[in-house]
């Protein structure tokens, strides 16, 4: 059994194979694999005995269930009104400039992906972003450069 198959089997054992456990199983795959590949989705469908189209249809509804390859660290910058008013664009430029990627892209080494997202619920400390599950608020271009440098150092590169 390959690693993805066994991961999905473990998740199905842990949560159960009923339909209402589809989200937790997909979230479990995301946690390790970062995205749901076609192969993962077909495997989930097989394991749960439901059509693969149902898995795909459900996955593509949710913005945090990526179905395309994505970096190890996903940056989700909030673009909703208060963050937009408080300088989100400057933060976006700073990130793009530092990582040399545009919105929606992934760095060639597959470590960082840059996305925008809707209201993260930190409007009183705008602008805000998530890196994977970690929240960063009251961002300034300097602060965001510092944060990203920290992530880069963790990997001992750049």
């Amino acid at each position: 059994m390959d690693p993805i198959q066994s991961l999905i089997k473990d998740l199905a054992e842990k949560h159960g194979r009923e339909r209402e456990n589809l989200l937790p199983i997909m979230q479990g795959v995301i946690e390790r694999e970062k995205f749901l590949s076609e192969y993962s989705m077909v495997e989930i469908a097989r394991e749960m005995d439901i059509p693969a189209s149902e898995v795909y249809g459900t996955a593509t509804f949710y913005s945090f269930l990526e179905t395309k390859p994505i970096g190890k660290y996903t940056i989700r910058l909030c673009k909703t009104i208060t963050c937009a008013m408080k300088g989100k664009s400057q933060i976006l430029f700073a990130i793009q400039d530092m990582l040399k990627i545009k919105l929606g892209e992934t760095t060639p080494d597959k470590r960082f992906s840059l996305l925008e997202t809707n209201c993260l619920g930190w409007c009183h400390k705008a602008p805000a972003m998530l890196i994977n599950n970690e929240v960063y608020t009251e961002l300034t271009p300097e602060k965001v450069r510092e944060i990203l440098s920290g992530y880069m150092k963790q990997n001992g590169q750049f």
Binding site: G57, T58, F61, Y62, S63, I81, M85, N118, W122, C123
Partner: protein
């Protein structure tokens, strides 16, 4: 006169109460009927924004006949400008859990689920720990009620109660037709109480301090207090517990930066109130308050004179276009066309009168969209376009 009025600050929700075990056992000593009566006489209404009477919801679910029932805590806080539920769950989670057990006691439900939005994943571990401790205590007193967390995955629409249940059942978060209402047929087809995080905490306050204490705060039709998430152009953004029924004028004196042009009450799905109407607007549920009454899930966003209302509306519409589930045509196509439409007017590709066509489109959406998302786009759209029409054109 500026500063002549002080908003009445209240401190119930975040008050640290170390006696939840005592509150819980006093709740369990009361009969379901007694508890329902307390909620009814407090006149507590749902704090997610819709304002359905909480006592009625619990009563209907209690009366429904089924072998299984559920209690769901809606922590899918996604309305732009709202951030109070996260604060509740990180500061006083045990109040939420106690209230869920109380609801189980009233309705006969044995299982509670907290639907936590994916954006708040960082809360999960801490919350799980509190649930484990709580669970341990429930076991000790032989109470059969289990609470678990279910993580969302980034979809605003899942805050809509029936979409949330679809999501809990492992499907796309597409709202259901109502009726049947969740009190009859909710999660997995069983009678379900679904309450906002803040609503549950208010029931804790009511059961601990009595309905009268709650009822005495606020105004007619809008009793009690409410948490307000204040953001935008304000020197003091943050979360504040205030009495319902205050006038927007007083709110702006307290939170404005001296240059407040308009306030968005209730997030992107709420209403924008321009300065000239501050005096006539009161924050609370619809009732016989004179002037405009504005219901809100607590989102209060202030805009000063440096802000373009076109940009604000553009931002909202992009939000709705992305978050529309796409299930019903009025909302799916309507959100797209509104966004394209205001851009076309701004560019000069369409005449100013095209705005009236778009206003009629929002009326259609209000009448025909399946759920609150599509229906409420008209709120912000019409209140912005009608009050700041020139900014849409020039």
């Amino acid at each position: 006169m500026a500063n002549s009025y002080q908003l009445k600050r209240v401190d119930f929700i975040f008050r640290n109460e170390n006696d939840w075990e005592k509150v819980l056992s006093s709740i369990l000593k009361r009969t379901p009927q007694q508890l329902i009566n307390e909620l009814l006489s407090s006149e507590l209404k749902g704090r997610g924004g819709a304002g359905f009477p909480t006592g009625v919801k619990w009563k209907l679910t209690a009366e429904a006949e089924a072998d299984k029932k559920y209690v769901i805590c809606n922590a899918d806080e996604g309305e732009p400008g709202t951030f109070k539920d996260r604060e509740i769950l990180s500061k006083v989670p045990y109040k939420v859990l106690t209230a869920m057990v109380a609801c189980g006691h009233v309705t006969g439900a044995k299982e509670g689920i907290i639907y936590l939005r994916g954006e708040y994943k960082f809360l999960e571990q801490e919350l799980k720990k509190v649930i484990d401790e709580f669970d341990y205590y429930c076991n000790e007193i032989n109470l059969d009620f289990k609470i678990r967390i279910f993580m969302g995955s980034g979809a605003y629409i899942c805050g809509e109660e029936t979409a949330l249940m679809e999501s809990l059942e492992g499907r796309r978060g597409e709202p259901r037709n109502k009726p049947p209402f969740p009190t009859q047929s909710g999660f997995m087809g069983y009678p379900t109480v679904i309450n906002n995080v803040e609503t549950l905490v208010h029931t804790f306050t009511i059961f601990k301090y009595g309905a009268k204490k709650f009822y005495d705060l606020g105004v007619q039709y809008s009793r009690g207090t409410k948490l307000f998430s204040v953001s935008g152009d304000t020197p003091k953004p943050g979360i504040y517990e205030l009495e319902l029924g205050m006038s927007l004028q007083d709110f702006v004196y307290e939170f404005g930066d001296g240059d407040t042009k308009a306030v968005q009450v209730g997030g992107a799905s709420g209403f924008l109130v321009p300065r000239k109407k501050f005096k006539d607007a009161a924050i609370g549920f619809k009732g016989k308050l004179s002037g405009i009454s504005l219901p809100t899930g607590g989102s209060m966003m202030l805009f000063n004179s440096s802000r373009s209302m076109f940009n604000v509306l553009d931002n909202y519409l992009e939000f709705f276009r992305e978050e529309s589930c796409g299930q019903c045509t009025p909302c799916r196509v309507g959100c797209q066309q509104l966004l394209l439409g205001i851009k076309a007017v701004k560019r000069g590709d369409k005449p100013a009168s095209y705005l009236d066509k778009l206003l009629r489109l929002t009326e259609t959406m209000q009448l025909t969209a399946k759920c609150g998302l599509g229906q409420s786009v008209a709120n912000s759209f019409s209140s912005i376009v009608e009050n700041f029409r020139e900014e849409m054109i020039y």
